[in-house]
Amino acid sequence: MTVTSMDLLLWARGPGFAAAVVIFALGMVWRLIEIFSLGRKPDLSLPRERDGASGMNTVFRRFLFPPGMLRRAPVTYLGGYVFHIGFGVVLLFFVPHIELARGVVGFGWPGLPTPIVDLVAVITMVTLVVMLVSRITDPAKRLISTFEDYLTWALTLAPLLTGYLAYHHLLLPYPTMLALHILAAELLLVAMPFTKLIHFVTVFPARWYNGDLFGHKGVPS
């Protein structure tokens, strides 16, 4: 029996998706319990300043550009914003994605017209490429980059690129490319708990922790 693109699509939409969700759910619970249960050494020093609000302040202040940094590292700061917002728009406001959510969680929300999502997808992908070039050409960034950084970059680009190619009927027939798109998204889902991509959850606790620690040391936000 030859495997047709419909078989691939069928697997991606059914067992493949279920497997990805199972690994994602298992991995996320496992990793979050592991991370939060690690705890920290008790800090026996007296707090230097009034601590308390510092952790929460940091959670929000880190959304802002630190003074002068926008000029010193525009690609890093603007790229980070454009990519994250773009990825969010494409993920959450493309109508087929909303229908998938409706099927999984039982409710949906209004979507955006496809050409707008299309444009945002292009901007997001271009930003990813610019960020990669910056990562490779900037000596400091290249020094601190590991294999995982490049892997997660590729895993993030893959669903965007395959989705774009599928929508525009490029390279492969639509059903095949759609199957690849779903598989790419599933791969991203599977990798999420076990790579730095888990930051989509841990980013805010991490900010809170840093802010709290610095507040304790007398450098409150």
Binding site: M6, R13, A18, V22, V29
Partner: protein, 362 residues
Amino acid sequence: MADMTVGALLRERGVSRRTFLKFCTALASLMALPPGMGGAIARALERARRPSVIWLSFQECTGCTESLTRSATPTVEGLILDLISLDYHHTLQAASGTAAEAARERAMKEAFGHYVLIVDGSIPLGNAGYSTIAGISNAALLAETAQGAAAVVAVGSCASFGGLPAAEPNPTGAVAVSELVKDRPVVNVPGCPPIGVVIAGVVAHYLTFGKVPELDALGRPKVFYGETIHDRCYRRTFYDRGMFAESFDDEGARKGWCLYKLGCKGPVTYNACATTKWNSGISFPIQSGHGCLGCSEPAFWDVGGFYHALSMTTTPLNKPTGIALAAGAVVGAAVAIGNRKKQADARKGHQKATLGDLEKTS
């Protein structure tokens, strides 16, 4: 009569030359041939001896035959029956029993190596007794009849891909014609049923050019299955603009907006419905307000609910996700206990250092 040319037979049947030329021109445009090809097709068909056609029906519902015959003559679809010498067809032949089988054997013998074999229905491999004709199993009959066929046309989704009989859990072990016939050109004309004019077009192409049309990866003629319903759909602009019918009776449905959310499988379905349409070009499912079921694609019965959007998952997630969450909690707790133990061991292993230790020169 089998020796008559198509032209002679059509004249005998009282089909006017004008009707015949209209048919040929329509076929030429349908197959995306240059306009001048209409005349060439007419000349070729006029002179062609009608090929002997043996039509075998296996696990099928006769819907494909209905599609071909339920049309007002002389339409394109109706004419197909004049183009060929249909020597054996369970549903359409008058003979039955031994006489019918004799007709098949005679046709096979007289035109061995030249006849066209049309098959509708899938072939059960589970048990030979699931479907037999004159005591011969479908698989044996296909193997025997395919031997002398110049080409095999699998009409309908069952013959092309297994169709409904092959749907989960495929109790009869149904397979497509192409799974069994490997040494003959097999043309798949899927659809449940296929468009009559597409069946006609494939046969006319064979008569005109003496070979099967160019096929895609799934063995379908590219001229008819080259584009998706979605790409040729007149409601496509609504998809692009994000205007969707949310139910079959809301404002969007009444205004003819896109049916994607109501389960239309047009984006992954390759067929000619949106261009040739049905019933002499009157309409097609989406035009009458219902999404495409994707009936001309493999496994269309198993690709999730007809009324579930294409992007929806086809496997229930609640139970596996619940188990995954619980398993994750167990794994997480085990790892956490392990880490705690490591921390405790490290603390236990701490040695107090005194000033005296630092002064030692060891």
